[in-house]
Symmetry: C2
Subunit: 258 residues, 2 copies
């Protein structure tokens, strides 16, 4: 039975998409069947995998609004064990449409029910902002992976995200767990980065899991999407790719220890 993990943080630009793509690639490399779902209208996970949105006729919008079976819109990324559900441009109007329909927070959860049998991990890349689509992802998820940029605003926003997760637990998804916090874009030359790392590791010590693997700032990670490839394949020897491989290993160890 597959596990659904939502990669979420309402703060923008913290590394959600970069983490979703490279963790998914890392898990697939270890032989696990992975499905990456792009719920962001920006479609960064989709283009970061080299999928051209203009060639796609059916996407997540059709599944969520018109209840088109999700299994029909799955795309093979070309990497072994790694499939994706792309986002299409019509996703940007989905919140307005979702507000008008029944079970609006549960559409994704219901759609994913069958797919849980087909994949070991279903990773959901979320948009910034706590929109109805993000609520759908948090309702469908077994756990939430929180990328946290080592910056002041990102740290400040963490409380709001944890509050939103607790709200989801109250009604829509009582069993929603926190998979852990992944520190991203760490720059060892700045005091600020170190301060954020220390604060997070101290504050969450006995509360939530903070991954030991810290993702450093590495230009190879931001170059990879322009080639439509996960960094793991674009530049496997880069420190960014190595960090995401280490994260995948640590993630799998954590699952095994469950």
């Amino acid at each position: 039975m597959g596990k659904i993990i939502s990669v979420s943080n309402q703060k923008g630009g913290v590394g959600k998409t970069t983490t979703a793509i490279n963790l998914s690639a890392g898990l697939a490399e270890h032989g696990h069947k992975v499905l990456l779902i792009d719920t962001d209208a920006q479609g960064n996970s989709t283009s970061g995998l080299g999928i051209n949105r203009e060639n796609i006729s059916l996407g997540l919008h059709d599944a969520i609004i018109d209840e088109f079976p999700l299994i029909e819109i799955i795309i093979d990324t070309g990497y072994e064990n790694f499939h994706a559900i792309p986002s299409t441009r019509d996703l940007s109007g989905v919140d307005a449409e979702l507000f008008q329909i029944e079970r609006r927070e549960r559409r994704l959860k219901e759609g994913l029910h069958i797919l849980k049998q087909e994949y070991d991990y279903i990773i959901i890349d979320c948009p910034p902002s706590l929109t109805l689509l993000t609520v759908n992802a948090l309702t469908a998820a077994d756990s939430v992976l929180i990328p946290l940029q080592t910056e002041y605003y990102a740290l400040e926003g963490l409380g709001q995200l944890l509050g939103a997760i607790n709200l989801i637990r109250l009604g829509l998804n009582p069993d929603l767990a926190i998979e852990g916090i992944v520190l991203t874009m760490f720059d060892k030359r700045t005091r600020l980065s170190m301060q954020v790392v220390n604060e997070v590791q101290c504050f969450f010590r006995d509360r939530e899991y903070v991954f030991d693997t810290i993702i450093p700032r590495n230009v190879r990670l931001s170059e990879a999407p322009s080639y439509g490839k996960p960094a793991l394949y674009y530049d496997p020897s880069s420190i960014g790719a190595q960090a995401y491989r280490a994260l995948s290993k640590e993630f799998l160890k954590k699952q095994a220890g469950m």
Copy 2:
């Protein structure tokens, strides 16, 4: 008569808040009366100015949903000529409420009508994602300032933003102009940064204004919010503060040339 400028880009983490705060501070330094409005539930513009959200009873939510006069919720930042309208936590549920009410896209525009006489510039910091609150900001604005991080995903997302602006022009705000594109977080050591700068300057050469001032990546800009101050006051001699001062000058020259 004051000019309303919305600082907007649905891509997350591109420097909207940092630009909104430091441009506002720069204009105020030149003697212009400035009002900065924080429409993001994250409240980064609010905390970046040292305003403690917990001490605020009335905020933008009350003005937009309950039509409370905006003039009553204005706060003095303590910097000369520089006022602010803070965001409060209840803003995160505002989209769901806005969907149910009349004139939902125009609430901010209507509220700002009186204030345009009081300020030279009203700067609106927008959240990531094209939510109903962002639509309100784009409907109220005379022009849109687009911070563009010198990264691949940010460049890719520009088309979507320009598309959204055109949609707003079709119905809600036919006179919405583009103030210009400000390149941010430029890192001269990376080829990617240079590529994005070249592409933007070439593509927009005869179409839209691209500010000559490019904001470099500078840790002082990301430290400043933890002290609750604009970088212009936190570390006036830093290259980040100097860049935003140069941007303010260029911006004012552009207004004068109108």
